[in-house]
Amino acid sequence: MPVDKKRITGPEETQSPLLFQKYDKSSVILVDENGKRQDERDANDCRPIFMKAGVVSQAQGSAYIELGKTKVICAVYGPREVLRREDFSMTGILKCDFKFATFSCPVRRKFQPDTEEREFALIIEQALSPAVCLHKFPKSQVDINIKVLENDGSALSAAIICSSVALSDAAVEMYDVVTACSLRLSEDTMLLDPTYQEEVTSIRGDSNANLTIGLLPSINQTSAMLQKGHIDCDRLLKWTPLKSFLHYLLPSRCPSLLVFCLTTQRIADLYGGLSENLPHGPRVPQEVGHKQTPTGERNGTRRRKMIAVSKNGKREQNDRRQN
C-alpha cells in the first residue's frame, strides 16, 4: 500500500469494533406479529422527512434532507464551463460527485470513492438528466456534489430527492422535480423506506431485495431504477409490489413527494407567499466573468420554469418571467 502523503495517516490496519460485538443474527426480525417494524412503523409508512433548500451559501443551489436518521446534503454549482475536454457536448451535462462521509455508516468508509459510490453517482446523473432542460446550457456542465452525512437506509433515494431540490434551488431549468423512494422486499414483507438495518438484514428464504425507483411525477415516468438481490420475476411483475410500489410513487400517493410539496410550501410561506416559491430570487452567479448565463440571457430576465405548489396541495406548472 502506498502511503497517502496528502492526509494524516493512522495505523495501516484498523478493525471496526462492530466485528467484535456479539449479537444473534437469527433473532433479527423485520416485522413483528402485529405487523409493526422495529421502529414502530407500518410496512407502508415512510419516515418523517425534513428538507431545507439554500443551506450552502457558496453554491448556486443547495439542499439538505433528513429521511428519518438518514442525512444528505447537496450543493449545485454551475452551469459552468466543462472541465474535461472529453466531456464536451452540444447539450449540457450533469456531473455528479457522490460520497458517503467516512463516519456516515456503521463501518467506517474510506476517503477514496468506492465502486458503490461511483455507481450511485452514475444513477443519480441518469435519474436527473431527463428532468433537466439540458439543451438550455450547451457546452457547459452542472456539478452536483452530494455528501451523505449519515446513512440509515434509503440513502440513494434521499440523494435523488435532495439533488433535484438543489437543482431547482439553483434555478436550473427543469421539466420536473425527481422524487424517489426505496423498498425492501423479502419473502412475505414489503417495507417502504427501509432503514439501514432493514436493508442489510437478510431473512432466510428466496427473496431478499432492495429496490429504488426514481420518478418524474408530472409525466409519471421512471427515470431511475436499481434493484439488488433476489426477487421472483412473477412477483415483481404480476400481483406484485412493483405495481403497488409505483402506485405509491404517484403524485397523489407518494408520501415523500407529498412531504416535499409541504416542505416547499413551508419554505414558500416563510418567504412571503407563493409568488416566491423558492427561497431566493434569481441568483447572480458568484464567479467573476459569469455575468451572463451560458444561454445568453441576462440574469434578470432569466425565464424560470418550475413546479409550484398551490395552497390546496395541488401541483401546477409555473412558467413565468422574473424581473
Binding site: 497517502d4 496528502k6 492526509r7 494524516i8 495517516t9 493512522g10 495505523p11 490496519e13 484498523t14 478493525q15 471496526s16 469494533p17 467484535f20 460485538q21 456479539k22 449479537y23 443551506v55 450552502v56 451559501s57 457558496q58 453554491a59 436518521k69 442525512k71 446534503i73 447537496c74 450543493a75 454549482y77 459552468r80 460527485d97 460520497k99 462521509a101 467516512t102 463516519f103 456516515s104 455508516c105 456503521p106 467506517r108 476517503f111 456539478d143 456534489n145 452530494i146 455528501k147 452525512l149 449519515e150 446513512n151 440509515d152 458568484q286 464567479e287
Partner: protein
C-alpha cells in the same frame, strides 16, 4: 465588504455548535461560524499500538474541503489548503496534549483505540481553521466508547453493546484567527472575502489555563509586536467565551 473594517474591530460571527448529530459516529458535532459550517465525525476502531509506543493509542485528524463547500475546490485527493489545515490541527492536538493517548490503550502492545476524526467543511466562507478545531473539540467531548473486554483463553476482544465511556480531555485548545490589512487593521473571525483581500493571517491557539499553545502566521505582511500582543489578549478573551458556550451546549445536549 459585509462589515466596515474599523480599527481593531473584533466581530464575532454568530457561533453555533451542535453535538451528537450523527448517530453512526462515535462522536460528532456541527459547528457554524457565520455561514462557515464544519461537521466533525469520530469513528473509533481497533488497531495495534506502535512498537516504540506500546501504551499509546492514536488520534488521526483529517480535514476535508470537498467541492461541495465552495466552487474553488476540486474533487479528488485533498488540495493544498486541506493539507495545511489538517497538519495544523494535528500539530495543535499533539502540542496541546488535548487527549491523553495512553487512555486509548486497551491492552499494552496489542490493542488500542484509533480515533479517526474527520472534519468535513460543508460551507466555506472563511476562517475554516477555527471552525474545524472547534468542531473537533466538540465532537471529542461527546465521544462514547464501548467497554472492551479481552477473553482470556482466545485472546479476542469482546465489546459491550452500549457505548458508555467518555474520553478524558486534558485541555481545551481554542483558536482565534485574525486577518491583517497592512499592519494597521486587525479583524477577528474573517470571512472568505476578507481572507482573500487581507495581506496576512495569524491564528492563535490558547488553552484554558491561559497558555499559548500555537501561533500560526504563514508569511504575509509583518505584524508589529504590540499588535501581536493585542491579538493574544483578544484571543484569550474570546477563547474563554467559546469554552463557556461549548460547556453549555455539552450540558444541554446531555440533558
Amino acid at each position: 465588504m459585509t462589515q466596515p473594517p474599523s480599527k481593531y474591530a473584533v466581530v464575532d460571527h454568530l457561533f453555533y455548535p451542535m453535538m451528537g448529530t450523527i448517530g453512526n459516529a462515535d462522536g460528532s458535532a456541527l459547528v457554524k461560524l457565520g455561514n462557515t459550517t464544519v461537521i466533525c465525525g469520530i469513528k473509533a476502531e481497533f488497531s495495534a499500538p506502535l512498537l516504540d509506543e506500546p501504551t499509546k493509542g492514536y488520534l488521526v485528524p483529517n480535514v476535508e474541503l470537498p467541492p461541495l463547500c465552495s466552487s474553488q475546490f476540486k474533487s479528488g485527493p485533498p488540495g493544498d489548503q486541506a493539507q495545511v489545515v489538517s497538519q495544523l490541527i494535528d500539530n495543535i492536538v499533539k502540542s496541546s496534549k488535548l487527549i491523553n493517548l495512553e487512555s486509548l490503550c486497551i491492552a499494552e502492545g496489542t490493542l488500542c483505540w484509533v480515533l479517526h476524526c474527520d472534519m468535513i467543511c460543508l460551507d466555506y466562507e472563511g476562517n475554516v481553521v477555527d471552525a474545524c478545531l472547534l468542531s473537533l473539540l466538540a465532537a471529542l467531548k461527546n465521544v462514547l466508547l464501548p467497554d472492551v473486554r479481552i477473553v482470556e483463553d482466545s485472546g479476542l476482544a469482546v465489546t459491550s453493546e452500549k457505548s458508555t465511556i467518555p474520553l478524558d480531555l486534558s485541555s481545551h485548545p481554542v483558536s482565534t484567527s485574525f486577518v491583517v490589512f497592512d499592519d494597521s487593521i486587525l479583524l477577528a473571525d474573517p470571512t472568505k472575502e476578507e481572507e482573500t483581500m487581507a495581506t496576512g493571517v495569524v491564528t492563535i491557539v490558547t488553552t484554558e489555563d491561559g497558555n499559548l499553545c500555537a501561533v500560526h502566521k504563514p508569511g504575509g505582511s509583518p505584524l508589529p509586536v504590540n499588535k501581536m500582543q493585542d491579538c493574544i489578549a483578544r484571543s484569550k478573551e474570546r477563547a474563554n467565551k467559546v469554552r463557556k458556550l461549548l460547556e453549555k451546549t455539552f450540558k444541554s445536549s446531555k440533558g
